[in-house]
Structure formats: C-alpha cells, structure tokens
C-alpha cells in the first residue's frame, strides 16, 4: 500500500478546454490505484462533467440534489413600469416584452438588488430552486470512488457546487491518500474552488497559441494559491514550434515538464466505447505516453510530495491584489 503520509490534493487543470484533462486524470487515477494508493477521484467540472464517462461509470450510488437557488419574479399587477429594476440589475436579467416587465429566470442570480430598488415592492422570490446535484459512485471498476457534481443548466455559482463536491470527496478520503481533482476549463469560480486547498497542479497544454495563452492565465492563478505546478504537453506532434514556445515558458517559470503525449486517433475511439484508453488499447502511442506520465507522478512526485512541493512551489507569494477606485478617482 503506497502512502502519502497525509491527504494530498492534486488538481488537473489547463485553462484551455478540450486539451485532455479528463483523459489524463482518469489514467492517473487508474495507475495510482494499481500502485496501491488510497484515492478519491473528483470531477470538479460541475457544468460539463465528463470524468464519469471516461471512467465508464453509468450508475451512481448516491445523488443528492442541492436546492440553494433563488429566482426573482415581478408581480405584474403591482408593477408601475418605472424601470428601476432594469437599471439596477447588473446581470441584465430584466426584459420588457410588449410593455410588460419580466425577469428572465435563466439570467437571474437571485440577489436582492431589484427588489430593494423597486418602489412599489412588486418583486417576489421563488426559493429552493434546484442548483444541481452532488453524485457519488462508491467504487468504479478500478477500485476507487468517484465524486462529481452537476449544475442545473443556466444556474449561477457552480463554484459552490464544486466546493461541496470536493468536501464530499475529502470526507471520503479521510486522513491519508490522494484527492485527484479534474478541474473545469477556464479560470473562474469553478476552477478557483478546485484549486483551493491543493498542493500540486498538473497543467495540461496542447501546442496552439490559444492553449499557451490560457496556460499562462491558469499558471498565474496557481501562483496566487502557492501551488506547485507540473506540465504535460498533449497532442505535441501537431505543432513542434509551439511546443517549443510552451516549454520555453515552462523553463522560465520553473515548471517541470513531466511528459508529452502524441496525437492519437485511438483516444476518441476509446471514448466512443466509454473505456479508458489504457484499458482499450494499452499499446497505443498515447496510452504508453500517459502510462509513463502516471508512473512518474506515482513514483517520483507522490512518494515524497512535500519535497516536490517545496522544490516547485512559487518562491515569492503572489496573492491576488484587487484594483479599487475610491471616491475622488484615485486607484488604490
């Protein structure tokens, strides 16, 4: 039984969508489990959860709905059409159709601004709107549990759902082992919730200018959190020039490049079959590359993760600094 000493959180993130986070996270989880690590896999993309599909999970043992949402609506008989609500709403949720004022439930975040602004007090709320669901599969085919969440479409604050999902995962894991978190694309609230509390980040990039730009943004975010990053370049044979630019950036920023994966049509093929590539075609070029990367993480990173973290975490703290403009106009 491989041991980590204390729970360690490793987040797989990228900024750019579609570069192979879930595919790599699934492979990593399978290899770590084979190596005897205690592990919980967390799908931290509440808006487009995919990890269960890659891992072939078609049934959940637990599905707990979360009812935190709140949506405003206008009582038409009381409305004086003064437009105060439309002017107050920062989300633009108030629409006018044939002279009638209507709050679009797909846009409304449920804050109290419009009702506070409304002179005739014509605005009410629907409470306990479904925000989403937290799901658990106690044991995937590979022996470890999978926790995931799914936001109801069009709802705000998926970051909250990700936090609840991670907390469920952490309580399942207990005092020892690896929390392997597959983050969403982007750098917004979902990703920030994924990164909170993590020590290690496996950043995935593809050789495109778009991916390099997004890599820089997600990397700066990991610096805010003091996380030790490592980099994998996926589909690397599509553009060697840009691989060079990506690795130059990594070198300049002390981000170790721990592997490269070639483009491989076996990847989408295995996805269509809903079987992880390392099971479907373990000899394929991409599978071999991913296995080597996973073995590196298992044997060289996690066995003494505190040394790794110490070596590669940001040397200078770079916390988020807000830009506030005070009355009188001077930026702080």
């Amino acid at each position: 039984m491989a041991s980590t000493g204390a729970p360690v959180e490793l987040v797989v993130a990228s900024g750019k969508g579609g570069v192979g986070k879930s595919t790599l996270a699934a492979t990593l989880a399978i290899v770590l489990a084979r190596r005897g690590y205690r592990l919980v896999a967390v799908d931290a993309d509440a808006e487009a959860p995919n990890l269960h599909i890659v891992l072939g999970v078609d049934r959940w043992d637990e599905e707990i709905p979360v009812y935190e949402g709140r949506v405003a609506y206008i009582v038409d008989e009381l409305c004086t059409r003064c437009n105060a609500c439309a002017e107050a709403c920062v989300y633009g949720a108030v629409e006018v159709h044939d002279g009638r004022y209507w709050i679009n439930p797909w846009i409304c975040e449920g804050c109290i601004t419009c009702s506070a602004a409304c002179p005739p007090k014509a605005i009410r709320y629907r409470f306990r709107v479904k925000s989403g669901v937290v799901r658990l599969a106690r044991s995937t085919r590979y022996g470890f549990p999978l926790v995931g969440g799914e936001s109801a479409p069009g709802r705000p604050n998926s970051g909250k759902l990700v936090t609840e999902t991670k907390n469920r995962g952490k309580s399942l894991l207990g005092a020892e082992g690896v929390l392997l978190v597959d983050a969403a694309a982007g750098i917004g609230c979902q990703v920030i919730s994924s990164l909170t509390g993590a020590q290690l980040a496996l950043l995935v990039a593809e050789p495109t200018l778009a991916s390099l730009s997004d890599l820089k943004r997600i990397h700066r975010l990991t610096k805010h959190f003091g996380i030790a990053p490592m980099l994998v370049v996926n589909k690397y044979d599509l553009n060697p020039d840009i691989v060079g630019e990506i690795e130059d950036y990594a070198r300049a920023e002390n981000i170790p490049v721990i592997g490269r994966i070639p483009f491989d049509p076996a990847v989408p093929e295995s996805m269509v079959k809903a079987v992880p590539l390392v099971e479907y075609m373990p000899d394929s070029p991409a599978a071999e590359a991913m296995l080597r990367i996973a073995e590196f993480v298992a044997d060289k990173v996690l066995t003494d993760w505190r040394s790794w973290w110490s070596r590669y975490r940001p040397k200078k703290p770079e916390p988020y600094v807000p830009i506030i403009i005070r009355p009188g106009g001077s930026a702080k």
Partner: protein
C-alpha cells in the same frame, strides 16, 4: 447603433471548436454583412489569437460597483451583510463589516439597504478589461470586441454583461453581431446568448460532446431560441446520438465539419482555416455553413 441580428456560437464542453467556428464564420461573412465578433469567453479569450491579432486595442477597464464603507457613519447594524448575496461582506457580531473584494459582484444591494448612508455610491473595482480591435488582414474588415477578467476573479457574469453591452453599442447599424460565448453551461452562457435570434451549438462526436450538448440545448430551448447544431471533428467518432438529441430538441439544422489536420495546424498557428487551406475539407464545409447562415439571416 443597434445591430439587426445577433447570432451566438456556444457548446458547453470546452474544446469542441466554438472559437474555431466563430472566427472562421466571421472571416467568411465579413464580405457579405457588416459584422462585429464578440469574444465573451472572458476567462480565457482566444478569438484574437485564432485571427492572428497581435495586439488588442482600445482597452477599457470593466469596473463594477464596490462598497467603500465610511466607518464613521457605520453602526455595525449588519444590514449590508444580510443583503449580500455572494457572502462578500463579513462581520463578527456587533463589529463593523469587512468587504472581501474577490467575491463582490457589484450588485449594489448593500448600498440600497444601508440605513446610515455609510456606503459611497462612487466606489469601483476593476474586474477586467474589454477591447475593440479592427481585423482587416484576412480580407473584408470586421470589428473584434474582447472581454478578459483579471486572474483571481470568481464571478464572471458582470464582465460578460459589460463586454456584451460594449459589443452591442459598437455594433454596425443594421449589421450582425456574432457572439462566441466560451465554455460552460451556467448563467454566464445564458447571459451571452440572451439577445441572440439564433444559437449555434458546436459539439464533437464523442459521448462527452453529447452529454454537454444536452445541457446547452436545455438552456437554448428553455430560453426559446432557434438552434442549430454543428458537429465539429465529424468523422472522428460517432454522432448518431447527437442527431437523435437534435431532433428531440427541435434543432433546425445539424451540420458537420469534418476533422482535418490542415485546419488543426492552421488553428494552432493563428490562421483561419478558410484562409490557410481553402481547399481542405473543413474549409469547404465552413463555407457551406456560412452560406446557410447568410440564407437564414433573411428569416431571422
């Protein structure tokens, strides 16, 4: 200057090819309609990179309201904390409140409920920037409006709405605004497609693409939007499920753009596929899609 049409390109799953489709459509349509492309993927905007634009121009800060509390007037009544929807205002019992900048959405609820007039209406916080850049190197000119949040910002809808409003303000009179929404299926996407008369959902022929297509169609359908589905990288998987799903949601057109290494290489380098390899399968298919869209504009 009100545009005549707004068409949104979205998709849910990251990496299906929203920006690929949106930027190529912009290049193709710019010769036929006056056009503005709005990149509302404020977390990770990429349209400028796919169009080989090296410098974004006309930077404007996106500044939302930020409560600056006058502690001389504050009585620590807690009304602002109760009113705050995002938990950005915290206070221990009876103590004056503290505002946590990263969580503040700028909604002004605190300002409106404060009984002591202790919050200034003038305070602002810069959460990101919007840009407006002319794109002329690929033929007929069009304008690109880009939104970008500062790294560390939790809450993206205010930045999406601000960038969208700029795009609608600067849109050519009587022309087309093409919106690239960015990944996701949350209220950021619904805000990005709010004004659209047509929503084009870009997906990929895998079970992951299918799963996220359902969520996007749920939103578009719920908002009463006419929808098309574009299966990008067609041929690299199985899209029968996508076809069935499209029928289920009353999607008006399902269009396939084949996987094409020429197009992928062009994308990587920042050259629109329709210019880099006009004869390749993906480019021909994109031209066909732009023709369908032009014809559809007459009915929108």
């Amino acid at each position: 200057m009100p545009p005549r049409w707004v068409v949104a390109v979205t998709g849910g799953k990251g990496g299906t090819g929203k920006s690929f489709v949106a930027t190529n459509l912009a290049v193709l349509l710019a010769g036929h309609v006056r056009l503005l492309l709005a990149d509302l993927d404020v977390e990770a905007p990429n349209d400028h990179l796919l169009l080989g634009v090296t410098r974004l121009e006309n930077e404007e800060p996106i500044a939302t309201f930020f409560p600056i509390i006058d502690y001389a007037r504050c009585t620590a009544c807690g009304a602002c904390m109760k009113a705050c929807d995002t938990g950005a205002i915290v206070a221990a019992r009876g103590r004056p409140p503290l505002v946590m900048p990263r969580l503040c959405s700028g909604c002004r609820a605190c300002l409106m409920v404060c009984p002591e007039d202790a919050i200034s209406p003038e305070g602002r916080r810069v959460i990101g920037y919007s840009y407006s850049t002319p794109v002329g190197r690929w033929g007929d000119r069009f304008q690109l409006v880009t939104g970008m949040i500062r790294e560390g910002e939790e809450h993206t809808p205010p930045a999406i709405v601000a960038t969208k409003r700029r795009a609608l303000r600067e849109a050519p009179d009587g022309g087309l605004v093409l919106v690239d929404t960015g990944a996701g299926t949350g209220n950021g996407v619904s805000a990005a497609i709010q004004e659209a008369q047509l929503v084009i959902a870009v997906t990929e022929p895998t079970p992951l693409g299918l799963h996220d297509l359902r969520a996007i169609l749920e939103i578009a359908h719920g908002m009463g939007k006419r929808t098309w589905v574009v299966v990008n990288r067609a041929g690299l998987g199985d899209d029968r499920g996508h076809e069935a799903l499209a029928r289920e949601y009353g999607v008006e057109l399902l269009y396939r753009v084949p996987f094409d290494t020429g197009a992928a290489r062009a994308y990587a380098r920042g050259v629109p596929a329709v210019k880099a390899c006009p004869g390749c399968d993906a480019a021909r298919s994109l031209r066909g899609l732009s023709g369908e869209l032009l014809a559809a504009l007459k009915t929108l």
